[in-house]
């Protein structure tokens, strides 16, 4: 290959080994999964891994959750450090904007304003699937994905998986990578979690669903263990 693709660490134990050292930079990646599979945790690990290296990241919250709630629920994680916020990590509540009627132009403008202000290397939009009911969703996703790469960022878009679907198809279509988080009840009756890389452009990635655990270190992948 003539082009060398830069990589950024995911911050998730085991995951970088599955994809040549990290997410491609720049790129947009969908983290898809149903409730409780670790989407937000994995996204925060990504931001804090950058923050630990002095990289700036922005967390766009689309659900209007105040920052104190996010901090309260995540304070048990070793990788979360409150001192990152305001410096390496910027928290942006976009919920108010999204409640307004109309298209996505105001949202896009606010995202770009924020990016020009802070010039981040890493971005999380959590969750992006909350936007589906607005008009022009597919065009918006395409524009967003392209714009985020032009700004030189790697962006994780989290997406809720609805009953009966494997992943949010409209988002998966426009992004460079798809990481699927899932769970199922095992033989012993306990719920087991899995991570699978469905797509990662420009990357030789390990396929199949690999067992994950969520502890005070966040999501960890046990590569090769309990494969789906």
């Amino acid at each position: 290959m003539s082009y060398n693709i830069s990589r950024v660490e995911s911050g998730v134990g085991g995951l970088d080994d599955m994809m040549e050292g990290g997410y491609p930079f720049p790129s947009s990646i969908l983290i898809a999964g149903s409730a409780g599979t670790g989407k937000t945790t994995l996204a925060l690990q990504f931001l804090t891994a950058g923050a630990a290296n002095g990289e700036r990241g922005i967390y766009f919250a689309t659900l209007s959750e105040p920052i104190q709630w996010l901090l309260r629920f995540t304070e048990g994680y070793k990788f979360m450090k409150k001192e990152y916020f305001g410096e390496e990590l910027i928290y942006q509540d976009m919920g108010g904007l999204l409640k307004k009627k109309g298209d996505f132009s105001e949202f896009m403008k606010a995202v770009e304003e924020c990016i020009t202000e802070y010039m981040p290397q890493r971005i999380v939009i959590d969750p992006v699937t909350v936007l589906t009911k607005k008009k022009g969703y597919r065009e918006f996703l395409f524009d967003l994905s392209l714009a985020l790469k032009n700004w030189e960022t790697t962006t994780l878009l989290t997406g809720e998986v609805q009953p009966g679907e494997m992943y949010p198809v409209e988002v998966a279509y426009v992004v460079d990578g798809v990481v699927l988080l899932s769970s199922r009840v095992g033989k012993e009756g306990s719920r087991q979690r899995f991570l699978e890389i469905l797509k990662m452009r420009g990357t030789k990635h390990i396929t199949g669903g690999h067992m994950t655990s969520i502890s005070e270190d966040g999501v960890q992948v046990q590569v090769g263990m309990g494969m789906l």
């Binding site: 002095g54 020009t116 032009n150 030189e152």
Partner: protein, 205 residues
């Protein structure tokens, strides 16, 4: 702040190198992922300190991004022209962007003072450009050219740009490229510049 130190280091490196030599064509070698940051730093500095005009050739991403960043920093852009090779309005209200193949035509137009492909800020077309009043040409990012051009046409492009710079006494060209993105392309470009300015990775954290 580390960010201010970064900017002053980059500017110092460029100004010292430019002052010490008759070189007119430079590679500014940076680490991947920091092109926008370095372009913004250099452009802001040149627009504040140079008396003449400048040309920003946007190959890797639409020029609107750097235009927006400069506006955000309150940097006047009235002496900056954009040749936006990465952007083409796809038509319709929504627009959209796609890559245009770059051939000799753009350079022919520049050299014959026919500027249909040039813009100034806010998408306006310039009425007249005096190339003898132009101090700099900044190119973002020549390393992506092989994705949609043959190496022969790329060499021709570099050659024509070199001639343009040589023919205008004040003009200097700066190719801001990541050294590791496309090693073969980087080696090709080396043959068309007079000097390489290295921006150390540790300045760009």
């Amino acid at each position: 702040m580390a960010r201010d130190l970064t900017a002053s280091n980059i500017i110092e490196t460029i100004e010292e190198s430019v002052a010490r030599t008759d070189a007119k064509r430079f590679i500014v070698s940076v680490k991947s992922g920091k092109i926008v940051h370095v372009n913004l730093t250099i452009l802001s500095h040149f627009l504040k300190t140079r008396k003449g005009s400048g040309l920003y050739i946007s190959i890797d991403r639409p020029h609107k991004y750097i235009e927006l960043l400069l506006r955000k920093k309150d940097i006047p852009q009235d002496r900056l022209y954009y040749a936006d090779i990465a952007t083409r309005r796809a038509g319709g209200e929504r627009g959209g962007y796609s890559i245009l193949s770059i051939g000799g035509f753009l350079w022919l137009k520049i050299m014959t003072n026919s500027f249909e492909d040039l813009y100034i800020a806010n998408g306006k077309k310039p009425e007249k450009i005096d190339l003898f009043d132009m101090d700099f040409v900044l190119i973002d990012n020549a390393a992506v050219l092989p994705a949609f051009n043959s190496m022969d046409s790329i060499r021709e492009f570099f050659g024509e740009l070199g001639n343009l710079v040589k023919d205008h006494q004040r003009m200097k060209a700066y190719f801001v490229v990541p050294k590791d993105l496309h090693p073969k392309m980087f080696e090709t470009l080396r043959n068309f510049v007079d000097k390489i300015l290295e921006i150390p990775d540790e300045w760009l954290q």
